[in-house]
Assembly symmetry: C3
Homo-oligomer: 346 residues x 3
Amino acid sequence: MEFTVGQIAEVLHGAVEGDAALRVDRLAKIEEAQAGAITFLANPKYEPQLYTTGATAVIVSRTLELRQPVTAALIRVEDPYSCFTALLEFYQQSTRTGRRGVEEPSFLGAGSTIGDNHYRGAFSYIGENCIIGQDVLIFPHATIGDRCRIGDGTIIYAGAKIYADTVIGARCVVHAGAVIGSDGFGFAPQPDGSYRPIPQIGNVVLEDNVSVGANATIDCATMGSTIIREGSKVDNLVQIAHNVEVGRHTVIAAQTGISGSTKIGSYCVLAGQTGIAGHLTLADKTTVTAQSGVGKSIKVSGEFLQGSPAFSLRDSLRANAIFRHLPELDRRLTALERNAQTPEKS
Amino acid sequence: MEFTVGQIAEVLHGAVEGDAALRVDRLAKIEEAQAGAITFLANPKYEPQLYTTGATAVIVSRTLELRQPVTAALIRVEDPYSCFTALLEFYQQSTRTGRRGVEEPSFLGAGSTIGDNHYRGAFSYIGENCIIGQDVLIFPHATIGDRCRIGDGTIIYAGAKIYADTVIGARCVVHAGAVIGSDGFGFAPQPDGSYRPIPQIGNVVLEDNVSVGANATIDCATMGSTIIREGSKVDNLVQIAHNVEVGRHTVIAAQTGISGSTKIGSYCVLAGQTGIAGHLTLADKTTVTAQSGVGKSIKVSGEFLQGSPAFSLRDSLRANAIFRHLPELDRRLTALERNAQTPEKS
Amino acid sequence: MEFTVGQIAEVLHGAVEGDAALRVDRLAKIEEAQAGAITFLANPKYEPQLYTTGATAVIVSRTLELRQPVTAALIRVEDPYSCFTALLEFYQQSTRTGRRGVEEPSFLGAGSTIGDNHYRGAFSYIGENCIIGQDVLIFPHATIGDRCRIGDGTIIYAGAKIYADTVIGARCVVHAGAVIGSDGFGFAPQPDGSYRPIPQIGNVVLEDNVSVGANATIDCATMGSTIIREGSKVDNLVQIAHNVEVGRHTVIAAQTGISGSTKIGSYCVLAGQTGIAGHLTLADKTTVTAQSGVGKSIKVSGEFLQGSPAFSLRDSLRANAIFRHLPELDRRLTALERNAQTPEKS
């Protein structure tokens, strides 16, 4: 995919300074860009790089005043960052998400419908009585169980596994290998010490604009629904147990685990490798730092938590600062004790 | 799937109080149930909900005495909890695990046999010389390598990957995306600092009634077998390394990792995100709390462990209670030191 | 697969002591070996087991002097360990990695090429314009996106998902369910508290001899490449975020997570369930113990780290030793305070 600087400028409604016939075939950061790349300058902090970059073209502001000569061709626009993001999106679409049509063999179960302008990769599987919107992309080896509903513009990447009865909103992204709707981990202890599985007959609901990372797992509810609300983002290898509810626009980083029936608020941030115990409620805008373990409900909005078990970030930082010096604390204490026991000698 | 209250009562050998012609099409908890749902009341604690529930029908005990009028139809039975569980199991079977037959294209390698009454989903793959029992369900995109043996009534969900030579017992459940039999992480350090892979030629054995969660991974033994004994339950995203042995009826919660050659006893509970170091032995009935890391063998049965590194839960709770107050401890110590250095001033 | 002791001796250029006609059909450790197995003795520490082993045959050193009678047939060679490893590799090849040819249905996109002597399993998917070397094994349900390049002798196990534009070197192993090239977790916060995805248009590069474990995930770079350098080994369920760079011959154990843009040095060891924060640099030969969380760059080569947050292993061990006794420390402090407040009484 190769374009001239002039072609790109035209699309961006920009003005070219330099050779509009130069050709670019990739996007790069200004500090890494080499010949053939187009990049951008939005933050004035990076202006010095403009004069040294190896990029063939740079998107800059209409108002930028050059202080040194530039070798790259410039495309002057109103908002360089937005223009570059538009190029990124265009690039992503042309390389990854622009595919349409059906590759064979693929499987579409009886009674299932799918809207216009979709992609179904080879070996993709759609069960019976599914209702799937338009502009949906279903990559190879994705499995979609019976009676699922999937909204417009959603992307299901390769080998994602969606169990029966799952509901997925519009413009969601489910990355490769993610599992949605597997049985909750519910077993009734028997008198002999063995366990009997409790049937898990609920489902999972992802509202609109939800993203689920690669190889993440979201269990179905025992009864009712496990719910991820609008706009929330779930990273790779995250585990979300049965009957959990995640609020709107909450971000859950990689390898975090949320235990059964817990309710996470909206606008929360759970950093990587966090654990949240079961049957808790976390207020909106709660932030949990990496590797922390939350064992109690958080009732006040906006708290920052750290540690395992977690408490307030501020107190945790202070406690950890002392923790490193525990051997010294012990020595100081021993010295005082020795002193206290032998006052007559001093 | 819709039934009348009368039809359900007949199956459960129950007596209807109210309108037997009412129709229900789903199961729900009493506190969440709405019109069209059937629920149950077993625990007297929830009796008040009986009078306010939106459910169309409620399964109750023959001996329950009503204290207020009820709008729902009642089905009176001997044991409401068991009856409701039976309904759950029936529902699960009719929606998810009742499928039989073969969808095409599917792949069955030379010399492999599979018993009656099975399901093989489209794009399922069975290698050569496998011996698979009856009533086995193999969902789409499951891969079963050469020479595997799988017992009666086992379910392999979508996209599970079973390496060659794996042995799986009867009535096991392997959830979507789980990997069984991948190479153990064994590399011999070379003089130049690089690593040479040690061939991993053993296998994995799951005994009867074992459950493996979505995207969990169980590595094959270097030689011999990695073994999960009867009735043990392994949750999503758990990692079990080469040559590990897990005893009977042990429960391993999500994202736990067990390092190579460790032996976990029977009736143990490993909570979420736990780590167990390699070459250890954990006695029967050991309980490890969430996010803990066990670095030593546990020889006495029935211990509770916490922390990273883990020690006795009781001592860990006490140490953690002080940990939060370390800054205060430090201030108290400093005050004493100041006091001790200036006794003449006091 | 059954061989006589004589056949094996011939291949290993060894001399048989005992019955060369005995038949063996499996490999085992000397302490676990039973009739039908061949094993080896390299470490003199295990010599006593030579006289009690149930193995049918044992590979021993030419120079070993027997102190007791042996029931097993012996094969005397120069280097028993190397000979046994050669047998392990031969066994692995004949059971798992020796397969060649194409099973149908499989999918090979337009413009893609693949070298001689390869295996493509049923339901394997290769996109368009891929360049794949010779002796490559692609197991069932593997997905390889458009424009990928894969070097000679690489093995892609069942259901691994390789996104478009990934570059994989020679003699790499990608285990079942691993995902390579999924979108980095990058979202731009919007004024209303929602998040807008930042297009992730980079790729992943695995150099030669890299191993990626089952269900591990490696995200593509935002722009540029996420890179795993030559010979590094990544275990099961590891998460490597966008723009990470892992040096040469570094070992990353199961369930570890590395956050975005971090650079891990060469010859490092990250133990299981470790977390490394984003935008850090770890010097060569850094070792991080299990469950630790590294929050700062490490500039000096060869350090050992422990804890969450991690600091020097030596200091961490000492601090943890005191941590367990915090309640006692508190009591000692309280006693001193009581003493200090009532000096007149003593």
